[in-house]
């Protein structure tokens, strides 16, 4: 994360594009981080608005930093021509953002059953009754969704949801779907055949009514 510190040292006003899985973009203004976006974390527009709405932009930024850090980064580039959006909050020192991300990674690593928010898809085991605060997450664990996907559906932070799921894995409430499981279904392509067979099913109708001038309503 040398690049982040360098942006701070250079008082950069630019977008640091981190290409990876999922990667993300960190926006700097005068060396301070004013926004962070990642496909791995719900943005301000997706996060559920609650009593802490005032800090929504800040929460989204920290969550995006975690989402970038927990995934892989292949390479990065500094885009100085990018539009840096008007800041929604006062700038944050990159050091502070990195520390927060490190704490969040440590919390996940220390949980009973750490998992990737992006890879593992989850399904209820049915063996243990989920606690009240977990029901919402369990309801969306359909076997098709990862922790990240569930966070987007619920409008909750990806870190919060991933840590809760790690706990649920530990308590046998949720299980990880085997990676080789194939989903999807084939449709009856017989309907692509010509329709001549079905012609008899259409009831014959009489001639269409004819409109005569002067008699209409």
């Amino acid at each position: 994360m040398h690049a982040l510190r360098q942006c701070h040292a250079d008082r950069a006003t630019a977008a640091l594009v981190l290409a990876g899985d999922p990667g993300g973009v960190i926006h700097f203004r005068d060396g301070a981080v004013v926004a962070a976006h990642s496909p791995g974390a719900p943005g301000v527009g997706t996060l559920r608005v609650d009593d802490e709405a005032r800090d929504l932009a800040r929460a989204a930024m920290s969550d995006a930093a975690f989402a970038i850090a927990v995934g892989g980064i292949a390479h990065y580039a500094l885009d100085e021509s990018a539009d840096v959006l008007p800041p929604a909050l006062d700038g944050v020192r990159p050091d502070r953002l990195l520390r927060e991300a490190a704490v969040r990674l440590a919390v996940l690593a220390a949980s009973p059953c750490p998992l990737s928010p992006y890879r593992e898809r989850l399904v209820p085991t049915g063996r243990a009754e989920p606690a009240e605060q977990w029901r919402e997450i369990v309801a969306h664990a359909t076997g098709r969704r990862t922790a990240r996907d569930i966070a987007f559906v619920l409008g909750l932070g990806v870190h919060t949801v991933t840590v809760e799921i790690a706990r649920m894995l530990g308590e046998d409430v949720l299980a990880i779907v085997p990676a080789a499981a194939v989903t999807g279904r084939a449709h009856d392509v017989a309907t692509l055949r010509p329709r001549s067979d079905q012609r008899a099913a259409v009831a014959p109708t009489g001639p269409l009514p004819v409109r005569r001038s002067g008699q209409g309503p």
Binding site: P39, G40, Y118, D149, V182, G184, H187, V189
Partner: protein, 122 residues
């Protein structure tokens, strides 16, 4: 038709592109061939919509003289619907949530639609 191979292609796409939620392969007249969707998504509806969407876009590409249509994307407040032509006979619909990495999707989809095209016309 090798449905297992179609399933594998769709799964790879979903694993490689963050934010993809549902996918349908359909004939270009809007009849679904293979789908990997959530329970709340009706592949029949989506296929019909995608076919209409692609038809209009294809005409627009022709009328404006801008070449062969490759894809359309519907941008909504909570997500995206991207439709890719697979030759002139089929299409691929990809639904994504608001975090969908659209650039990555464009990059990853081209080889997938090529392979699906080969699978559909053996």
């Amino acid at each position: 038709m090798d449905y297992d191979a179609l399933a594998v292609e769709l799964r790879k796409l979903r694993e490689n592109v963050t934010g993809v939620t549902d996918m349908v392969i359909a004939a270009s007249d809007g009849i679904p061939i293979f789908s990997d969707v959530a329970d709340a998504v009706d592949p029949l509806n989506i296929s019909a919509l995608a076919a209409a969407n692609l038809g209009i876009a294809r005409q627009a590409a022709e009328v404006t003289g801008q070449g062969t249509l490759a894809q359309t994307v519907v941008f909504s407040s909570n997500g995206y619907m991207a439709v890719y032509a697979i030759g002139r006979l089929a299409l691929l619909v990809v639904l994504g949530d608001s975090g969908l990495n659209l650039g990555r999707l464009l990059y990853e989809t081209r080889p997938v639609t090529d392979r699906i095209g080969t699978l559909l016309t053996p």
